[in-house]
Amino acid sequence: MIVFEHVHKSYPTRAGRKVVLDDLNLVLDTTKNIGVLGLNGAGKSTLLRLIGGAELPERGRIQRTASISFPLGYTGCFAGNMSGRENAAFVARIYGYDVNQVVRFVEAFAELGEYFDEPVKTYSSGMGARLGFGVSIALEFDVYLIDEGFSAGDGRFAARCQTAFKDRLKNSRLIIVSHTTETLLTYCDIGAILHEGKLHYFSDIKEAVARYNDIINKPLDFQ
C-alpha cells in the first residue's frame, strides 16, 4: 500500500510555484500495476520522486508498506571516474545486497565486455543505459518505478529487458508514469491521471486512458 494523506507539493518556476499535488488523499493498492498519465510538465516525475521518497511533500505525509525502487534504469547515481563494476557494487552496498552476486548479474546482463572495468565516463549513452537497467533489475523490489522509458539500447537488449522484467513481475508490481498510453495499456491494471494539481484515480486503466484521450483531444483554447 502507498497511502497519501493530505499531500501537498509544488515546485518553483520563474512564474511562481507550480502545484503538482493539491491536498491528495489516496490509497494506492500495490498488488496491482499502476499507470499514471499526465501531460508534459504536469509533475509526473515529481510524483514518482515523492512515491519513492527521494523528495518530501510540503504538507501531509506518504506512508509505504512495500519496498520501492529508484526510477528504473536511473544512471544519475553513477560516478564518472568509477568503472561499471564499482558503480554496480556501490548501489548493491547502499541497498544491502550481496555485492558479488549483484556485480556478477550486472556483468552478464549488461554485456559491456571489457568496458565493465572502464570508467563510466567513457561509455556511450546506450552503454550507460544498459548498466542502469542491469543494476535496476539486479535488485529486487516490491514496486518498480518507471518514468516513461521501459527499455534501452538496441532491439536485442530491449528484448532482454522485457524478458527479465516479465520474470520480475511474478513477484513485483509497477508504477509507470507516461504521457503516452500504449505501454500502460499493456502492463497496467489500474490508472490515474495527473492534471492541474489533481490526481484522478480509476480502478480500470482503460477508463483512465479514455478520459486522458478526452483531455488530449480537447481543442486548444487560444483565448
Binding site: 515546485y11 518553483p12 520522486r49 519513492g52 521518497g53 527521494a54 523528495e55 518530501l56 510540503e58 506512508q63 509505504r64 508498506t65 512495500a66 519496498s67 520501492i68 529508484f70 526510477p71 536511473y74 544519475g76 547515481c77 560516478a79 571516474n81 568509477m82 564499482e86 556501490f90 548501489v91 552496498r93 547502499i94 541497498y95 544491502g96 545486497y97 550481496d98 552476486q101 549483484v102 548479474f105 570508467p119 539486479a138 535488485l139 529486487e140 516490491d142
Partner: protein, 275 residues
C-alpha cells in the same frame, strides 16, 4: 537477488536497530565512493592532502626561522609549534568547507531513498577527519626524522579531547554551510571572508599570552584559539595556559552542532528539491 530481511520488513516499518544498521551501511558505502571520487584515479590526489599543509609549514618555517629569526614560543622546535597550530586549523577549515558542497555534490545520490542528507554529511566528515589525522601523523613522523626531537604528545587523552572538540565545531559549521548554500548561492564567499582572518587570529603562529591586552581578550573570543591551545596542552609537558577555557571551546562545538542539526531539520525539504 534478495537483501537480508527485505521481504519480511518493508522499508516503512524498519525497527530502529535495522534503521541504524542501514544507516551505518550507507555511510560506509558513501565513504568508499567518496574516497574514489574525491581523490581521483591516482594516488596523487591523496598525496596532495599531505603536500598542501607541508608546503604551508615549510614556507612559514623558513619565514620565521631565517627572515624574522624568531625563537619558538614553546618547546624546542618552532616547526612542531607551527604544525600543532596549523593542523588544528586545517582540520577545522577543511571539514567546514568540504561539507558545504556535500548536498549539491551528491544530489544524484540523494535520489536513492536510503541515502539521507545527514549520511552524506557524516561520510564526508569522517573521510576528511581521517585524512587530516593521517596527514598530521605523517608530518609528525617526518618532523621527528628531520629534526630528531621528541614529537610524541605528552598527554594523548587531552589531545584526543581537543581534536574531538575541533571536529565537533567543524562538523557543526559544515552542516550550517551545507544548508545555507541551498538558500544563498554566495554563502561560501561570506564564510571565506570569516575564515581567512582566522588563519592569523587563532594563535597558530603565536601564543595568546604573548599578545598585550585588550587584543588578547579579542582573540580569546575565537573558539579556534582555545582548541589550538588545547591541542598544544596535549603535546607539551609544561604548557598549562591560564587563559585556556576548555568549557568555552566545548560550548561552541555543542552550539554549532545544535544549530547545524536544527537548520538541517528545518530545511530538509528544500535540500531535496532538484535545482
Amino acid at each position: 537477488m534478495k537483501a537480508d530481511n527485505r521481504r519480511d520488513r518493508p522499508m516503512a516499518q524498519l525497527s530502529w536497530v535495522d534503521a541504524m544498521r542501514q544507516q551505518v551501511r550507507v555511510i560506509a558505502a558513501l565513504i568508499r565512493r567518496e574516497t574514489r571520487v574525491h581523490f581521483g584515479e591516482t594516488r596523487l590526489g591523496y598525496l596532495w592532502a599531505i603536500i598542501e599543509p607541508a608546503l604551508h609549514l615549510t614556507v612559514y618555517a623558513l619565514l620565521f626561522l631565517y627572515i624574522l629569526r624568531r625563537p619558538t614560543p614553546l618547546g624546542g622546535s618552532l616547526v612542531l609549534f607551527m604544525l600543532t597550530g596549523l593542523m588544528t586549523y586545517f582540520l577545522f577549515s577543511k571539514i567546514a568547507i568540504y561539507l558545504a558542497t556535500a548536498v549539491d555534490g551528491n544530489r544524484a545520490l540523494l535520489n536513492l531513498p536510503p541515502v539521507k542528507v545527514f549520511d552524506v554529511l557524516v561520510a564526508r566528515a569522517i573521510l576528511e577527519v581521517s585524512t587530516y589525522l593521517f596527514v598530521g601523523f605523517i608530518l609528525l613522523i617526518g618532523l621527528s626524522m628531520f629534526d630528531g626531537g621528541a614529537v610524541a604528545p605528552h598527554n594523548p587523552i587531552q589531545l584526543a579531547a581537543a581534536i574531538a572538540s575541533t571536529v565537533g565545531l567543524a562538523f557543526g559549521f559544515g552542516i550550517v554551510n551545507a544548508v545555507m548554500c541551498a538558500f544563498a548561492r554566495n554563502w561560501m564567499t561570506f564564510f571565506g571572508l570569516l575564515l581567512s582572518p582566522m588563519f592569523f587570529l587563532s594563535g597558530i603562529w603565536f601564543l595568546p599570552s604573548q599578545i598585550p591586552s585588550p587584543f588578547r581578550g579579542y582573540i580569546l573570543y575565537n573558539p579556534l584559539t582555545h582548541n589550538i591551545m588545547w591541542v598544544r596542552s596535549g603535546f607539551y609537558r609544561d604548557y598549562h595556559p591560564s587563559d585556556l577555557d576548555r568549557g568555552y571551546a566545548v560550548w561552541w562545538s555543542v552550539l554549532a552542532l545544535a544549530l547545524g542539526l536544527a537548520l538541517l531539520r528545518v530545511a530538509r525539504r528544500k535540500l531535496l528539491e532538484p535545482k
